[in-house]
Symmetry: C2
Subunit: 300 residues, 2 copies
C-alpha cells in the first residue's frame, strides 16, 4: 500500500444554499481531499482542529481509511467558514471567517508519515506547504493546490513552492491571475516553466485541462441534473486524482489522464450533496460505474 499524505485545512462550514442554511457542515481542503483519496488508497491526514471537533467526524474519516495520527487537537475552536452561494451556484460570497485554531497552524508531520510516496499539499498558505516539504523524505509525487488569496498575498512563496512540486492544481481564473496571461495555453506554459511537470486547470462545470510533456488533455465534466453544493468539489477532485495515482502507482501520461477522470467522477458526487454527505456514502462500484459513464460520455 502506498499511503497518501494529505495536509490542509479542516473546518466547519456554514453554507447558505438556495435559501436554506446548513450549519456545522464538516469541511476544509484536507477533509474533502482525504475523504475522496481514501476511496482509492490509505490516507494519512495532517491538520488541526479544536476541542469542539466531534467523535462523529473522526469516526467518519477513520471508517473511510484515514489515519488520524497527524490530527492535532488544539485549545480553542475549529476553523469556521460561512458563505452564501448565488442561486445558480456559480458564485459565492464569504460572510464570515473564524480562523480559530487554524490561525496558528504549523503542520507537524508525524515520523510515521514522513516516507509517504504520494503527497497532497491542500490549499493552505504556501509558506506552510513548503514547511511540509522540509519535513518529509523525497516523495514520488507531490501535488499542490492553491487559491486566489495566496496569489494575492504570497505570490513569491507560491512560485517557490511550484519549483518543488510535480503537479500544480488550480482553477482557470487563478491560472490567469498567477501568470497574467488570459489564454490558458499560454498560462499553462508559464506555470510549467515555474517547475511542475503537470499543470491541471479546473474549470468547474466545464471540466478540466491537463498540460504535461507536449500534450494537452481536455476533460469535460459530467453534465449533472442535480447540483446541490459546490463546496469542496476542487479538493475532492484533487484527492481522487492523487488517490488513483497512488493506487495505480503509474505516473505515465495516460495514467495521469485517467486520474483526472477519477477526480471529475468524485467531484460530480461531491456537488450532488451538501458537504460530504454524498461522497461519504458512495461505494467503489458507484465510482467505477460513473467512471465508465464519463468514458461513454466523451468518446467518439
Amino acid at each position: 500500500m502506498r499511503p497518501i499524505l494529505i495536509v490542509g485545512s479542516i473546518a466547519f462550514d456554514t453554507l447558505h444554499l438556495g435559501g436554506k442554511c446548513h450549519s456545522k457542515v464538516l469541511g476544509g481542503s484536507a477533509t474533502y481531499a482525504s475523504m475522496s483519496a481514501a476511496h482509492f488508497n490509505p490516507v494519512q491526514l495532517v491538520g488541526v482542529v479544536g476541542q469542539d471537533f466531534p467523535d462523529s467526524a473522526t469516526k467518519l474519516l477513520r471508517d473511510r481509511g484515514v489515519d488520524l495520527a497527524g490530527l492535532e487537537i488544539a485549545q480553542g475552536e475549529t476553523f469556521h467558514w460561512e458563505g452564501r452561494y448565488s442561486e445558480d451556484l456559480s458564485s459565492r460570497e464569504t460572510l464570515r471567517t473564524d480562523l480559530n485554531v487554524f490561525a496558528d497552524f504549523k503542520p507537524k508531520i508525524p515520523q510515521s508519515f514522513r516516507k509517504a510516496p504520494f503527497v497532497m499539499l491542500g490549499n493552505i498558505d504556501p509558506t506552510l506547504q513548503i514547511e511540509v516539504l522540509e519535513q518529509i523524505d523525497k516523495p514520488a509525487f507531490v501535488l499542490a493546490d492553491t487559491m486566489n488569496l495566496w496569489i494575492d498575498i504570497r505570490q513569491n512563496e507560491l512560485k517557490t513552492l511550484c519549483s518543488r512540486v510535480d503537479m500544480l492544481v488550480l482553477n482557470d481564473e487563478e491560472a490567469r491571475q498567477l501568470t497574467d496571461k488570459a489564454n490558458l495555453v499560454h498560462a499553462a506554459k508559464a506555470l510549467r516553466a515555474l517547475g511542475p511537470k503537470q499543470v491541471v486547470i479546473k474549470k468547474g462545470e466545464h471540466g478540466a485541462l491537463l498540460f504535461q510533456n507536449d500534450e494537452v488533455f481536455a476533460l469535460p465534466a459530467l453534465p449533472l441534473a442535480s447540483v446541490v453544493d459546490p463546496t469542496g468539489a476542487g479538493d475532492t477532485f484533487a484527492g481522487a486524482l492523487i488517490g488513483y495515482l497512488a493506487r495505480s502507482n503509474d505516473l505515465s501520461s495516460n495514467s495521469v489522464r485517467r486520474s483526472l477522470a477519477y477526480g471529475s467522477v468524485l467531484a460530480s458526487f461531491c456537488v450532488e450533496g451538501v458537504g460530504m454527505e454524498r461522497v461519504s456514502k458512495i461505494s467503489t462500484a458507484d465510482v467505477d460505474a460513473r467512471y465508465e459513464q464519463l468514458r461513454g460520455l466523451t468518446s467518439f
Copy 2:
C-alpha cells in the same frame, strides 16, 4: 452526392478586434456555414446580397463548392454589422446594424434546391426559417440555429420551428433563456420536448453538449494558443456538423457525435483568423489532422 441546402444571412462585418478595425469582412450565418459545410459536401446557398457584393466573394464561395443559384442580388447594399469585442474576446457589443437588402429578405428556394436531403436553417427570423420548410420536399435531416434576439421577440414562432426540425443548435445562455431552466440537463430535456431529436448546446471555448435519445455527449473545445476572431464560429461549427452528416449519410448517434467533433475542428480554424481567412485556406488534410488531434486530446 447529397447536397446541403443552407439558408441564412450574408453580410459584411466591421470588426473591432484588439484595437484594430477590420472593415468589409465577408460574414453572415449562411456564408460561414456554407464555407464550412462545403469542406465536406456540395452546398446550395440561399440568401440575399446587395449590388455591392463583389465578384471576389462569389468566387470564394464557388471555388469552395457552393452553388449560388439561390443567391438573390437585390437593389441596395448588403447587410452590414459592426461590433467591438472585449480584449479577452469573451464578449462583444453591437455598434451598428444596417439591415439594408436583408430587411425585406424572403427566402426563395430554387426548384433545383427543393429536394436537398440535408437542410441547415441558419440564424435568421424563425418565421423565415418556417417559410423555407414550406417550400421544400421532406428532407432527411433539418438543423436549425437561432439566437437570443429571436427568443426575445419570436418565441412562439421559434417553438413552432422546433417541432419541425431534427436538430436544434444554440448556445448555453440561449438554452437557459428559451426554457427558463438554469441547469443545462433540464434545459436540454425541455428543448427536446419541443420536438428536435437532437439538441446541441454550444459553450464556446468550453466545447459543446449533445443530447440525443437517452444519452449525453460532452465534447471539449481544442485549447488554442491563438484566438483572433470569434465571429462566425457557431455558424462554422453547425456547417461542418451538417456537412459531415451529409458526407457520411449516417444519422446514427455515433455519427452525430463525430459530426460535433468536425464542427469543433472547423470552428477552431475559424477563430484563428479574421472572418473566413483561415477557414477558406485549410485543406481536407488540415481538417483530418486536427480531428485526430481532438480525438487524442480527449481520450483516456
